[in-house]
């Protein structure tokens, strides 16, 4: 049977991809951000996931307003990156896992999620940047991937409550997957930021820290917010916390926080990374830090 090994939630700002391309990781501006991923690499080395279920939001690369699914699941043999309009270099395709994709699709529809099935799917920075952050040596990528896209472009967006339930259904599907694979779930976006309007540049550290705490200890608490409240508290694009909520919910029981980092700003964004694993497996395994938690809160 498949093993749901853990969840990583991380920011996906396009400027990160540019900094990687320009090898700026050790520059003063970037170092506190990139250093926050070292512990993640150590954890991944021990975990050795076979496949990543990557929950993200498209920013107008694969989907436009003509046909905009609320939830879309990739079912392709590979996923290509493409020009998002800025002419930046693209990256080698990511291998898919059609067998797991169709298992997830069957499971989610059986649980009454009316998802869109995609046998072709371009993936933008929200998919690519987190993969680069987790596996800086890639490509070739050491994992297969299954993208799951949540609409955060055009309101009405799915509620936090709905995204939480979607995550739970994904978690049940992973637990029921009859293959001997290690599955990692990755949720990308956030944390607080706003690109548009007279409130551009809005950042809310207090709310970000609250989210980081609640995702670990009481994720259902976050489902009580309406999307308008989330926009007010986290910014128009801070609504991307929906992906973190969905990813966290795939771990159905209690979790242990393995690592977290929070840094302001990256471009216009409060950045974060949060690593969680199922509590029952966290005891005997070698840990990233000496204590039960590893907190690196910068900024």
């Amino acid at each position: 049977m498949a093993r749901h090994a853990g969840v990583i939630c991380t920011s996906h700002v396009p400027a990160i991809g540019k900094a990687i391309a320009l090898r700026q990781q050790q520059q003063t501006y970037w170092k506190p951000f990139f250093d926050g991923y070292r512990a993640v690499h150590g954890w991944l080395d021990r975990l050795r996931p076979d496949v990543v279920v990557l929950i993200y939001n498209d920013h107008g690369l694969n989907f436009f307003l003509d046909k905009l699914p609320t939830f879309a699941v990739g079912a392709a043999p590979e996923y290509r990156n493409a020009d998002e309009g800025w002419g930046l270099p693209t990256i080698a395709p990511f291998p898919g896992d059609p067998q797991l994709s169709w298992h997830l699709i069957e499971s989610l529809v059986a649980e009454e999620f009316d998802i869109t099935m995609c046998q072709e799917m371009l993936v933008d920075h929200a998919f690519v940047v987190p993969m680069q952050l987790l596996w800086p040596m890639g490509p070739p990528w050491p994992v297969k991937t299954v993208p799951i896209c949540i609409n955060t472009v055009q309101h009405p967006l799915p509620t936090a409550h709905r995204c939480h339930r979607l995550g739970q259904a994904i978690g049940r599907a992973i637990d029921a997957y009859d293959e001997d694979v290690n599955v990692l779930v990755l949720g990308t976006g956030g944390l607080s930021h706003q690109l548009d309007g007279a409130r551009a540049g809005f950042i809310n550290k207090q709310f970000d820290h609250l989210c980081l705490e609640q995702l670990v200890s009481d994720p259902e608490a976050l489902t009580r917010y309406s999307n308008i409240e989330l926009v007010e508290l986290a910014g128009t694009q801070g609504i991307e916390i929906l992906m973190w909520i969905a990813a966290r919910a795939t771990l159905l029981g209690d979790v242990t926080q393995v690592h977290r980092n929070y840094h302001v700003p990256i471009s216009n964004t409060a950045s974060g990374v949060l690593v969680m694993e199922p509590r029952e497996t966290s005891g005997p395994r070698e840990r990233a830090g000496s204590g039960t938690r590893r907190d690196q809160i910068a900024g």
């Binding site: 107008g60 540049g201 207090q206 009580r224 409240e229 926009v231 128009t236 216009n268």
Partner: protein, 134 residues
């Protein structure tokens, strides 16, 4: 900015999600890109979506007037694009994810358009973000 509302969870009570209709909720300096905005801005956003392709960016630069006409921008949208005025583009239904592709044609990133929308220099906007880190 209004005081933060941290409903429910900070007080430790339980309950169902608090639903606020976009029609009644207002957040200063913020447009909720809902069905009304998506209909209003469709032509502008559709043009900006086309800029994912380099040849379309080149065509826009070669003949902006013809390119905007091809996508049937309304006069408000056309004027906002002509003036490179992001707030006016948003008022005309533009969504920032698509507008960012247009801004990129002019070499502007999200910090440039953040500065423009808040009426400060890029340096001042970046300083504000740095100070948000405390």
């Amino acid at each position: 900015m209004r005081p933060l509302r941290l409903p429910g969870m900070l007080r430790g009570d339980t309950g169902v999600p608090t639903m606020i209709s976009p029609k009644v909720a207002t957040i200063p300096g913020t447009v909720i890109f809902d069905g009304v905005e998506a209909q209003k801005g469709y032509a502008l956003n559709r043009m900006c979506y086309s800029f994912n392709h380099a040849e379309n960016r080149a065509a826009f630069l070669a003949d902006e007037e013809a390119y905007c006409a091809r996508y049937a921008l309304n006069p408000e949208q056309r004027e906002a694009v002509r003036k490179r005025d992001v707030l006016a583009m948003i008022a005309a239904g533009g969504n920032v994810y698509y507008l960012a592709k247009l801004a990129g044609i002019f070499g502007l990133d999200v910090q440039d358009i953040g500065a423009q929308q808040t009426g400060v220099t890029r340096e001042a906007f970046k300083a504000k973000l740095l100070s948000a880190g405390g």
